[in-house]
Symmetry: C2
Subunit: 206 residues, 2 copies
DNA sequence: CTGAATAGATAGTTCCACTATCCGCTATAG
DNA sequence: CTATAGCGGATAGTGGAACTATCTATTCAG
C-alpha cells in the first residue's frame, strides 16, 4: 500500500507519518522507484503501536523511539527493555531529591512486601520521589495506606508475569512488556478513577 | 516573608513564582507598599502543592489552576472536584473513538465488579479508550487479565475512601482528594514497576 | 495526456512553561 | 544620608516539542 492508505487505515495524517519516518519510529517503505514506496501490514501495525504509545500511552516521540529501538534490536534483552521502558514512562527529574528518611521508608516498604530492590535501582529513587512529593503536598504516608497501594501493585505485577508466561514468540513477549507497561499504567489509573467514582456514589449517593 | 525567602524554602526559582502569581496558581502576597508584598506560611504551602502537582504529578499549569480553583471555591463541592481532577489528570482526547464493542466490554467489566457507572460519565469513554489503544497496539483484553487490574483498582479505591473518613476539616478532605488522585496515580504506577522488577528478578534471576 | 499523489527535504507554526529585562520604588547596610 | 541590592509588576523573549506546510522532481491512474 502507499502512504495515503496507511494514513486512512491508521487514522494518522500523512504529514505525521512522514514525521515519524524522519524520526525513525517507523521504518521506511520499500522503494519501488525514486518517489514511490510500498508499505505493508507490518508498517501498519507498527504505526498503530506508535500511535498507541504516543497517544493514550503519553510517551514523547523520543521516548517511544528509544523503546521501539530496543524491541528492534538484534538481540533483544528483557533487562534493557525494562530499563528503557521505565525511563520512558515518566522521565526521571531531579526536581526534589528525596531525603534519606524517604529512601528508608521505601526500603522498609519493599522489605515488608518481600520485594528485591537493587540498591542502585532508579526505581528506588523514583518511588522515594513520589513519596517526597506527597509529603511536600502535605499528605502523610505514615499511616499505612501506602502498603495498600503496594499490595495492589504486587497483585498486578504478579499477574502481568503470569500473562507473559502464556506467550510464545519473543517478539510477542517484548511487545507485550512494552505495551503492558505503558498502557497498563493508564488502564490501572483509569480503572482506579472509575472505582473511586463508584465508591463515592455508593457512600454518598449520586 | 518576601519572595526570595519563598523561593529558597520551596526550591522554586523566583521567576517561576512570579509566573505562578500571574497565572493565578498562587495568590498575591499582601502589599505593604506599592512594590513590597508579604507572603506567609500559607503561600509557602500552596507553592509546595503547586510544585508537587505540576512536577511529579505531571499536571499542566492550566490543569493545576482549574483544580486549585475548585479547592478555593466558596462552597467547595466534592463532585466538581472529582470532575475537574479527573479531567486534569489525563486530558480527554478524541484521538480514537472507542467502538461500541469496547464500551460494552467496559460496561460488563464494571458490572462484574459491582461498580455503578453513570452512562454519561466520561470515565466510561476513557476506560474504553485505553482498551481501544490496547487493541490497536495488538494486545488482547479477552483473557480476563483486565479483571485483575480492576480488582486492584477496586482495592485501592476502597482504601482511598477509608482514608478520607479519618479526616476532619473539609479543607483537608479536598486537598487529600486532589493530591491523592494526582499523586496516588503516580505512586501506584511507580510501585507497580518496582513490583514488576522484583518479580522479574524472582523468576529469572539477577 | 493530465491531474492528483508521492518521496524526501527544508522551513514554518503553535503551544507551553518558563526566563529575561525593564521600571520605578524601597528596605537596609555603612 | 547615600549607595545598592532587592522588590513588585508588566512586557517581551526563549527553547523545546510535535507537528504542519511548502517545494521539487517524479510517477501513477484514468
Amino acid at each position: 500500500m502507499r502512504i495515503s492508505e496507511l494514513s486512512q487505515r491508521s487514522g494518522v495524517p500523512v504529514p505525521s507519518i512522514k514525521f515519524y519516518l524522519r524520526e525513525g519510529l517507523l521504518p521506511r517503505g520499500e522503494l519501488t522507484s525514486p518517489n514511490q514506496a510500498r508499505y505493508d501490514e507490518d508498517h501498519l501495525n507498527r504505526l498503530r503501536l506508535v500511535s498507541a504509545l504516543t497517544g493514550v500511552g503519553g510517551l514523547s516521540v523520543a521516548a517511544a523511539r528509544d523503546v521501539l529501538a530496543v524491541i528492534d534490536a538484534e538481540e533483544p534483552n528483557l533487562d534493557d527493555l525494562m530499563g528503557v521502558t521505565l525511563k520512558a514512562v515518566h522521565p526521571i527529574t531531579t526536581e526534589n531529591e528525596p531525603t534519606d528518611a524517604e529512601l528508608a521508608e521505601v526500603d522498609s516498604l519493599a522489605e515488608r512486601h518481600g520485594w528485591y530492590v537493587h540498591p542502585d535501582s532508579p526505581l528506588r529513587e523514583e518511588v522515594a520521589q513520589v513519596v517526597a512529593a506527597l509529603h511536600q503536598a502535605g499528605l502523610d504516608t505514615g499511616s499505612g495506606w501506602v502498603d495498600g497501594y503496594a499490595r495492589a501493585a504486587d497483585d498486578v505485577a504478579r499477574q502481568d508475569h503470569e500473562v507473559l508466561t502464556g506467550l510464545d514468540g519473543l517478539d510477542e513477549v517484548l511487545r507485550t512488556v512494552v505495551v503492558g507497561t505503558v498502557l497498563g499504567e493508564r488502564l490501572l489509573a483509569a480503572l482506579r478513577r472509575m472505582a473511586q467514582a463508584s465508591e463515592a456514589h455508593r457512600r454518598y449517593g449520586v
